[in-house]
């Protein structure tokens, strides 16, 4: 069954990446999706990121009880945890819930109300028209959201650390700027792009093959979120194993 769905998923992707009928129409759709995915998620990503950074700083400070370890380490740990893991992964898990369910229910509703049949009758490659703009917009916007998240998360960590007195501003900044490895940002971007592809394509697959009515659209939406989250965590481990 798993192989059946995986094969069907690959065949769907093959249709998605066919040459568009009219590029200008696809371009318009891509911009619309970029606004939906990017700007539409900026609020929740910002709130989550500030708290992720704050909690990371406070908890790291709590565990650093030895006087032999300088307090500036807190800044370094917050930076690396945020860049390598927390911002790309947690943001993507949240986006899987927000964007993934929206994509699955949108495409699923179009399926059960015959709108996808209408596209096919017109001679339009429905997977391409419906899914390609979402995948493209995701690949562009999710890394941008992750970059914003990294900055806000570190800012959150700085504010929480200094406000609670766990670390001074100078120590935190010293930790942030010491031993910075730029490759960690590359890894974060690789993760962001991979997760964007997973969220958009898995959710679109679930929506595209919805069969039935409103109940099945809801189920497709739930499945899209669950499968995307599992796939994100699996991909996270594989990328970490391969690149670190």
């Amino acid at each position: 069954m798993l192989f059946y769905h995986f094969g069907k998923y690959i065949l769907l992707l093959k249709s998605v990446f066919k040459k568009p009928e009219k590029f200008s129409i696809y371009q318009e759709e891509i911009f619309r999706e970029m606004v939906d995915i990017g700007l539409g998620s900026l609020g929740i990503i910002s709130i989550i990121s500030v708290f992720i950074g704050a909690v990371t700083t406070v908890q790291t400070a709590f565990q650093l009880v030895s006087d032999l370890i300088p307090k500036s380490v807190i800044g370094g740990i917050t930076r690396d945890s945020t860049i390598l893991e927390l911002s790309p992964t947690i943001c993507s898990l949240v986006l899987a819930g927000k964007i993934g369910s929206s994509i699955a229910s949108q495409i699923g509703t179009m399926r059960v109300t015959e709108q996808i049949d209408a596209l096919e009758i017109m001679g339009i490659n429905a997977p391409g028209y419906l899914i390609l703009p979402k995948v493209t917009a995701g690949i562009i916007m999710v890394p941008m959201l992750v970059i914003v998240s990294i900055f806000l998360s570190i800012t959150g960590g700085y504010l929480a650390g200094t406000a609670s007195g766990a670390v001074t501003a100078a120590e935190f900044v010293q930790g942030l700027t010491t031993n910075f490895n730029p490759f960690t940002v590359t890894i974060a971007m690789v993760k962001a792009v991979t997760f964007a592809i997973i969220i958009t394509t898995v959710s679109a697959y679930q929506g595209f093959y919805t069969d039935g009515g409103a109940l099945e659209v809801g189920q497709a939406s739930t499945k899209a979120v669950v499968i995307s989250c599992i796939a994100i965590l699996a991909a996270d481990y594989i990328i970490a194993q391969l690149l670190l």
Binding site: A118, M122, G123
Partner: protein, 249 residues
């Protein structure tokens, strides 16, 4: 003209279509009627390529449709208009954008020409001035008419209508039937209507095909349908008290 030859289609063990052959002529509305589960919609979906028949052939003016791939079918698909049971209007687009959609995708018309075409087809379905309304703001009958407008926007040679009267009151149903018949005659379109509405059968049934248990059970016109001895067809036609009463009169 559309020809179908020995169309067969199964879903698992359930054989829905058991070898159906028919010819659909231009300028004539052909009604495919039958009870629920008789295979009407499946036959239509096989004809337009939404289902691939297990065997048999569909030809559009001599062009074999069934053996073509999705990409190769595009030229024929551009000549097909379809009205869906649920109207299948794109929720995120207003009436005007719904009708413009196929024109934007496939026509080489200028912006002004496209706009004129939209206004023309909207006028044709008696919805002039409703360009900016969204599907959620339309009644069932209006949605069907927008569906027809979108279907005829590209000047199709073939028009398919799946249950065009479902969910409509009798008066609106008649309006939709008359509209389909007028458009068919005006543009010499080959029109196929799947329905189980007896008002449509008696109103616009120039050519009727009755399906029963996945087979073509009877073929004729609305003039012949009330005088046939076909048991299954009579059970279908006279299932309502209204038809029975009318016949007795």
């Amino acid at each position: 003209m559309i020809d179908i030859t020995d169309i067969r289609k199964s879903f698992g063990d359930n054989q829905v279509l058991k070898g159906i052959s028919a010819t659909f002529k231009p300028g004539v509305s052909t009604l495919i009627i039958g009870g629920s589960g008789s295979g009407k919609t499946t036959l239509m979906k096989c004809m337009v390529g939404l289902h691939q028949p297990d065997s048999g052939m569909v030809t559009y003016d001599g062009r074999d449709f069934t053996s073509l791939s999705f990409d190769e079918r595009i030229d024929i698909r551009k000549e097909i208009g379809m009205l869906f049971q649920s109207s299948a209007l794109f929720d995120s687009m207003c009436v005007e954008k719904n009708i413009l959609f196929p024109l934007n995708m496939f026509s080489d018309m200028s912006k002004a020409e496209k706009k004129d075409r939209v206004n023309f087809v909207l006028e044709r379905v008696n919805l002039a001035g409703k360009n900016k309304l969204f599907p959620a703001e339309l009644s069932g009958g209006m949605k069907k008419r927008v569906g027809i407008a979108r279907a005829i926007a590209m000047n199709p040679k073939y028009l398919f209508c799946d249950e065009p009267n479902s969910g409509l009151d009798p008066k609106t149903s008649i309006l939709i039937d008359e509209l389909i018949q007028e458009i068919t005659a005006e543009n010499n379109i080959t029109t196929i209507v799947v329905t189980h509405d007896m008002n449509s059968v008696m109103g616009i049934g120039e050519h009727i095909i009755f399906l029963h248990q996945g087979q073509k059970w009877w073929e004729g016109s609305n003039q012949q349908i009330t005088s046939t001895n076909n048991k299954e067809l009579n059970e279908f036609v006279f299932a309502t008290k209204l038809m029975e009463t009318l016949l007795k009169k």
